[in-house]
Amino acid sequence: MGTIAVELPVPKGTTGLRRRRVVGSLALLLTLLAAVVVSLAVGARGLGPAEVWHGLTAPPDTDRRLTEIRLIVQTVRVPRTVLAVVAGVALGVGGALIQGYTRNPIADTGLLGVNSGASFAVVAVIAVFGFDDPFQYVWFAFLGAAVAGVVVFGLASIGRGAGNPLTLALAGQGVTVFLAAVTTAVALSDQASLNALRFWNAGSVAGVGYGVIWPVSAFIAAGLVLALATLPALNLLNLGEDVARGLGVNIAVSRTVGIVAITLLAGAATAACGPIAFLGLMVAHVARHLTGPDYRWLVPYAGLLGAIVLLVCDIAGRLLVRPGELDAGVVVALLGAPFFAVLVWRGKFKNA
């Protein structure tokens, strides 16, 4: 029996695309690594590679100069870098997810009201309990962010307006302005709150210790696991609800898991760093440009890009206005807003 070898036609672009995606993610990882090294070295006091290495590895010793370097690296630069990476991944993944679930290219985690919810909670607990340590109020910020996020998402998904890009923007805007007003009212009557608010509001990855970073990272890790688990369903959802239902996706469950993941990611990042706008939106668009619409690739790319952009913005903030510092959130906004404007101008967003 002569067998006829049938070669299945492999779509020409597929292997190339796969290779490009793998190479691309390796390149992003290398870039991130380089950014981490630079972040450890650059600052009010520049350090050479050898000094950074010493600072990372040196045990407490008697040499005063080395101890000082160790102090700078281990208690200032490393936490700052770790937080930028963790928060960047969270905001990037959160941004890509929220754009996927709302099918809304303008969606940004800031739009969900998480920023205003977190600010309100921070100001309220400082005014009421007199907390002055971020470790104390980060939990309330997280709670506020989560509640605001769920409320906005809930409002935006009532009835038939759920699919409209402007619905989420409107709901987010309504809740944000309301909370911002109440926040201002509290802050104006309590100077300690006002002082905390203005620093927290700028969006900074500096000055937060491990006591905050570890728990926040745990929440973000949980959010990432949920996010990864929901990606196949998200791909199907983007074919349309009817198609997804036909292919066996439980839409309600998948949406809920998605919202929980987004809230964990954005809420935890915002609680630790303050509001950082445009980052999620920006990297989700770049990631989509690089990988195409497959969320199994798009979301990890967005996470890596988020970490790189936030870290680079933080480094740039340290260098731009020496001897002062620009907060990372301010640099991200200054970069992200023009980026957004260019997307608008090139007609990337369509009116529904």
Partner: protein
Amino acid sequence: MNGAEVKPGGATPADVRPVALAPGVRFGRVSFVWRPWMVCVTLLLGAATFLVFCLSIGVGDFPIGLPQVVATILGRGEQVDEFVIMDLRMPRALIGVVVGVALGVAGAITQSVARNPLASPDILGITGGAGAVAVFLVTVTGGTTAAVVNSVGLSGAALAGGLGTGLLVYFLAWRRGVDGFRLILIGISVSAVMEAITTWLLVQADIRDVARAQAWLIGSLDNRSWDDIRVALWCTLVLVAVVAGAAFQFKPLHLGDEVAAGLGVRYTRVRAVLLLCGVLLAGVAVSAAGPVPFVALVAPQVAMRLVRCPTPPMVASGMVGALLLTGADLVARTALPITLPVGVVTAVIGGPFLVYLLVRANVR
């Protein structure tokens, strides 16, 4: 009535009443549709505003009854009342009305031009730009020159900042004409830049300046004198007159550019003139009272519903704005033991209103 869907002025076809039912009135070259309901509602709004205005004047450490207030305003009051009312309380109440009218009309214009209920001056970046410039002045020049800045400079600079940002947004959004959706998105991004700058200025500044800037940033009518309101009053009157003139040309724009052109409207020019007036009105309002949130967004939407008009009505929007702001200021001064900035109250009213619009539009 519809927050979520983007239609001219936020109206759904069901709200558009058949025009043929309304009789027309013509004076020479000027003609308009006679709508008794609209006139009645607008007059009622005016009366309500006057009532709240008088109530607001009467409230304070030295309470004055409503009859005395009215008598004094009409020039037949007692000497003591006259001093308290005309010199101390009138400027504050009057600036509430002026700013309210300016914001209401500005909101009606921007919402009509962008054909989107979201398009208020807050979102188009005008207030954000004004805020950034004002905060720059307060924080960078610091307390030493604050006295000079306080009198004229702050208002003027805020006006320039608002106008500059409005023009920037308009030109950035220009691409073979201005599309409402693009205008809003560009506005959002420019606002974000202005907010980032404001935030950074606040981080750098001395905490006492920050409190001052923060109070200004939420919008407040505190401590106004006659000098403060003169400029705002005249600017608003002139601009509203221009808007009233241009509004005749504007109505057909809701039918679409082609139809408007067919009816003999030079639509690009009319739209540019009106938008400029809207930006200036918003700038005047912000320079007088700070970026009071939500009045420009809410007033036209409320006016549309009261007047039962498919597009934001200019005059009624101004009246609703005045009523809203005067009422909010009254609440801000009397509701709690401490005096709140008026912007806190308008936001507390406006946020839920926006959510209500959204939910109602969606469940219907």
